[in-house]
Amino acid sequence: MLNFIIRRVAVAIPTLIILLIASFWLMQTAPGGPFTSERPLPPQVLANIEAKYGLDQPILKQLWDYVIGIITQFDFGPSYKYKDRSVNDIIAQGFPVTLTYGIISFVIAIVVGGILGMSAAIRQNSMLDYFAVGVTIGAQVLPNFVMAPILILIFTLWLGWLPGGGWNGGQWQYLVMPVIALSTSYMASIARLTRSSMLEVLRSNFIRTARAKGLPDRTIIWRHALKPSLLPVISYLGPAFVGMVTGSFIIDSIFGTGGIGYFYVNSAFNRDYAVMMGLTILLGSMTIMFNMVVDILYAWIDPKIRL
């Protein structure tokens, strides 16, 4: 187990370093300095501003200072476009929003997807099974940027039941559509995963033994089949987390919820490289860490993986 953890961490650390260097390097090669504008600044002013942000230092020194800033003060750098808005401010403002609809979508995807997949497997080749398989195929071709406008069309423009966007402190009416749009494709994937793993588990020897003992179906499913068939879902948590963060690009731009994705896409349009880099490094390293924890968790639960 320890061996596995060490090996897993040995992959994560170079990944973090590559991510850091790649983002930093991309920002350095960006055309024009951060303070280039249509009306050129007097060289003296420019030099002063660059000195303020430490941009007159050699690149390696800048990189070093940046890393030290992250480690010691959790400071992901300033925005060069808006003086009052650092990466940390953006995180404080946008992250709770993303986390709110992200976690709700995540829970719904797991619960609904899991139940759908398992009941489909238990009644294989029934109408319910065909329904579940149909839904999962359908949801696969409806990514969130297709789901979201269709939802708005139905619930806002035609039925007028729900507000078409906004956040409003996270009232439930404002949450419904982002959550459905974000969770559908993950629900479908989880349903597919649990269906196939449940089918496999139900054909395995220990289930046959349980049946031979004369246990009722309910006990077999809840006591014996449930846990092993949910295992593959754990390995899906990593990609689902990534999907939640990248999905927020779409959710925030369609529903105007003002999560982290809004700021990311906005800074991409404004060419606010510093914010982009800060967010990339922060969200990227969170993803890498999360994937690592999930992998280790999975290996801890299922020893076969450690090999």
């Binding site: 960006a30 940027f145 406008p149 990248t246 690009f249 991409a268 993803t287």
Partner: protein
């Protein structure tokens, strides 16, 4: 008496049957013929092939059906798209006008062409790089293999959507950059799958024979390993195309992908969403239809190919 008469007759019949069996055996089916038969009997996949062929033809030759082009702005329509810009067969604007008074039919043709091109070219690049990388790592094995695959692990755990967007913003938004950015990551999965298959092939007799007669390594990889990987590669490549299209549409939907006057399904869907409030639903409907049908088709064809080619199911 009857026996004596029946005897030669039966002998002749037996001989005929034996001959028939012999001929049948001579006509034995190859693996590929087998797979083809299985694929042809898969209805969903066959319907998808036809639908996809139609969409490809539409994207290649669609503009010759229309007397308009995708760039001319009809100033009379502008500002009154909802009333005057509806789709109509009579005036030749089959899909109506877009928000800027351009002919939507030709915009969709152009968007389909770009989206399909991104999907197919991206998948081809991923297949070429991934297959060669995976086959090399798997065949050489040992330390080279573990270094190469560790590298893949590392690249795979970088959240590439961020890096892709960062790349597009820094290096400028263009189709070339989209190809580069998507191509950078798409080959990783492929190389893993190919490596796994190579490991199981490389100890077979024909490879040993090739090694024994002194065929150089790269030649063994190209002539003996890669052709035997074809089944897996084909299946995975078909499933890769819709993934590429989805990624490109995601980026273009955000407005960070292809730039005007070029367009793609993602960009068209995004335009459709923006003008949805004004009641011009055809802006959303037409590109969405082509997008969804294409993705569906590729998934069904990929599934059909997997059923036909995957050795695990035999």
């Amino acid at each position: 008496m009857t026996d004596k008469l029946a005897q030669p007759f039966q002998q002749a019949k037996t001989a005929e049957m034996a001959q028939g069996m012999l001929e049948q055996e001579v006509q034995g089916r190859s693996l590929w013929a087998d797979a083809r038969a299985r694929f042809l009997s898969n209805k969903a996949a066959m319907v998808s092939v036809v639908a996809l062929a139609l969409i490809v033809l539409f994207s290649l030759f669609g503009q010759s059906l229309s007397q308009f082009d995708n760039e001319t702005i009809d100033w009379d329509i502008l500002g009154n798209v909802k009333e005057a810009g509806r789709p109509s067969i009579e005036n030749g604007h089959f899909f109506g006008f877009d928000e800027n008074g351009r002919d939507l039919y030709n915009r969709v043709v152009q968007g389909s062409r770009i989206s399909l091109a991104v999907g197919i070219v991206g998948a081809v690049i991923a297949v070429l790089v991934g297959t060669l990388y995976g086959a090399t790592a798997g065949f050489i094995g040992g330390r080279v293999d573990s270094i190469m695959m560790r590298l893949v692990d590392i690249f795979m755990s970088i959240p590439y959507m961020f890096v892709l967007i960062l790349l597009l913003v820094v290096a400028g938004r263009s189709i070339t950059m989209i190809f580069v950015g998507i191509g950078l990551t798409a080959w990783l999965d492929m190389s893993r799958i190919v490596r796994g298959q190579t490991l199981s092939i490389k100890n077979r007799e024909f490879v040993e024979a090739a090694i024994a007669i002194g065929v150089p390594t790269w030649r063994i990889i190209l002539r003996h390993i890669v052709p035997n990987l074809l089944g897996v590669v084909v299946v995975y490549a078909t499933l890769l195309v819709p993934t590429m299209i989805l990624t490109e549409s995601f980026i273009s939907f955000l407005g960070l992908g292809v730039q005007e006057p070029l367009t793609s399904w993602g960009a068209l869907i995004s335009e459709g969403v923006k003008s949805m409030n004004y009641g011009t639903l055809w802006h959303l409907g037409f590109p969405l239809f082509f997008f969804v049908v294409t993705i569906f088709c590729f998934f069904f064809i990929g599934d059909g190919l997997r059923d036909a080619l995957d050795p695990k199911d035999r």
